[in-house]
């Protein structure tokens, strides 16, 4: 049986489209319903992050890192301060480290909640989105309690934190975790085992492991392809080596390893692990310790460069910082995990149907602020 080729049609999705998660333009070449090529056009949110970094001092970079990945601001701060502390050789005390881990993991839950919620929304499931945003609001409340901001925190500073934990934070967090833990099962039943959802995601957009590595895909997307790679385990920073947790990988429960459903399921499992990590970190949180203790008066790193990676909810977040000894960075490059995740879209979406594109795009969990910077 030969292959029938019809006439190719070019279709534009975006830059303003509710399913592109921001301002992304996809130029899709289709043969009827079957996709032959996708060309993403980026840069509709290019906010000159790296240019700003060269013009402001090291402290002032932190608010800009917030605004890059606005769904996971805490982990963006975290990556930057870890890099800066390596560059300046600063050791921070345990209380700061554990508070950072608590914040980063709560942020991971919040980010994954939005990612899975919006993924459902892309496929027409509106109710899970409302449930997940309801629970996300509770995490946001915890952050608001800590630093006053809802979305962009500027909480982690080089050598410390902007504030210590407020009174009652630990109790409130534990109460939230007790409330939230059964909810994850609810989400799994509500969305993950929903017949329509499974039909639309299982076996769709399969990403083999070699393709994932070659395209530099990291984070939950890489783990869904069956590779146990998590910087928190494999190249531990902060105090992750003192915490006990699993790295969930894609098993192909509903279809093949590395399909869209696996990517969704890995995120769901990671929420469970994050709950586990937050509990442990709260247990080990030292009672005393000044969060401003090792903060340098003036941040002026020695001449030199550093490339440091941390695990953000979207994958390997790298900061390349070059210092010329002054108080502004000479060059700062952010290696964005979503940037590389979007790069693989053409490879894994080719050959699928038009309606699958949005399922695949949703499963990659991209944030345009971080892609365009």
């Amino acid at each position: 049986m030969g292959v029938v080729h019809g006439q190719e049609m070019v279709l534009n999705i975006g830059p303003q489209h509710p399913a592109t998660h921001g301002v992304l333009r996809l130029q899709v070449k289709t043969d009827g319903e079957v996709i032959s090529e996708i060309t993403p056009y980026l840069g509709y949110l290019h906010r000159c992050f790296e240019k700003h970094c060269e013009n402001v001092s090291y402290e002032q970079v932190i608010p800009f890192t917030d605004r890059c990945d606005y769904l996971a601001s805490m982990t963006m701060n975290f990556g930057y301060v870890v890099a800066m502390e390596q560059l300046m050789d600063i050791k921070v005390n345990d209380r700061v480290q554990y508070i950072r881990v608590i914040m980063a993991e709560l942020q991971r839950i919040a980010s994954h909640l939005l990612a899975t919620g919006v993924f459902g929304l892309d496929l027409g499931a509106f109710t899970p989105f409302l449930h997940m945003l309801r629970d996300r609001e509770r995490i946001i409340d915890l952050f608001e309690m800590t630093c006053g901001a809802r979305l962009l925190y500027n909480y982690m500073w080089v050598g410390g934190l902007s504030h210590d934990l407020p009174k009652g934070f630990v109790e409130e967090t534990l109460r939230f975790l007790d409330y939230f833990e059964p909810k994850v099962d609810e989400f799994e039943n509500l969305l993950g085992h929903n017949k329509i959802f499974v039909e639309r995601t299982a076996d769709i957009g399969i990403m083999p492991a070699e393709v994932a590595i070659n395209y530099g895909v990291t984070g939950p997307n890489l783990r869904a392809s069956g590779i146990k790679w998590d910087l928190r385990k494999d190249d531990p920073y902060s105090v992750y080596d003192r915490l006990d947790f699993d790295v969930p990988i894609g098993l192909g429960i509903k279809g093949t390893v590395g399909d869209s459903w696996d990517r969704f399921y890995v995120r769901l499992q990671e929420m469970r692990q994050s709950i586990n990590i937050v509990r442990q970190a709260i247990d080990k949180l030292p009672k005393d310790g000044d969060v401003h203790q090792s903060m340098p008066k003036k941040i002026r790193p020695p001449k030199g460069s550093i490339y440091s990676r941390t695990e953000s909810p979207r994958g390997d977040l790298g900061y390349y910082i070059e210092s010329d000894g002054s108080d502004t960075p000479y060059r700062l490059k952010m290696r964005s995990p979503a940037f590389t995740a979007l790069g693989v879209l053409n490879e894994i979406a080719g050959g699928w149907l038009m309606s699958d594109v949005l399922a695949i795009l949703g499963s990659l969990d991209i944030v345009l602020g971080e892609i365009d910077r």
Binding site: P15, Q16, H17, P18, G22, V23, G43, Y44, L45, H46, R47, C48, K51, H52, N55, P63, F64, R67, Y70, L71, L114, F129, L130, H131, L133, R134, R136, E137, I140, R150, L151, L152, L368, G369
Partner: protein, 163 residues
């Protein structure tokens, strides 16, 4: 109003057609969710569970053709600016614009070195309400929309403009 006064039952209100129209417009401003950046998340939060914009008649639409209000939520870049104008032109009259957040108002934190950032969406399209904040809380957005409702109420769509 002498002719119509006391002619009807108690539950009938007499009012100018002008005012009726602007009242009807003000209570259901469907908004075009034009989220570009961080503020879009707060806009989503405003429309979702806790804050629930729908209770005041404000419903999100994905297409500019079906919307009355355009909420520009987030940074607008040069590359996007040309599209913003196009989207604004696609909306049917009467149309209103809310600039949400400091980026849409003035370029926000990117005003100084942002070579690719539009320094305020009002350079491209007319803006009715500015909501400050980086990002504004959902409450602030709701406040801005209520201000817009007031503004619409004051409008007189049928009155011929003189001069």
């Amino acid at each position: 109003m002498g002719l119509l006064e006391n002619r009807f039952d108690d539950n009938v209100v007499v009012e100018k057609l002008d005012k009726l129209l602007s009242w009807a417009r003000s209570t259901s401003p469907w908004f075009f969710q034009f989220g570009t950046a961080c503020c879009a998340i707060e806009m989503m939060a405003a429309a979702a569970s806790r804050h629930d914009l729908m209770r005041i008649g404000i419903i999100p639409r994905s297409s500019p053709r079906q919307a009355d209000v355009m909420i520009v939520a987030g940074t607008v870049t040069m590359k996007m600016a040309l599209r913003v104008k196009k989207l604004y032109e696609q909306m049917a009259d009467p149309k209103y614009v809310v600039a949400m957040g400091s980026c849409a108002t003035s370029g926000g934190p990117y005003w100084q070195h942002g070579y690719h950032v539009l320094k305020g969406v009002d350079l491209v399209i007319p803006v009715d309400v500015y909501v400050p904040g980086c990002p504004p809380r959902p409450e602030a957005l709701i406040e801005g929309l209520l201000k817009l409702q007031e503004q619409i109420l004051e409008g007189r769509p049928l009155t011929r403009k003189t001069g």
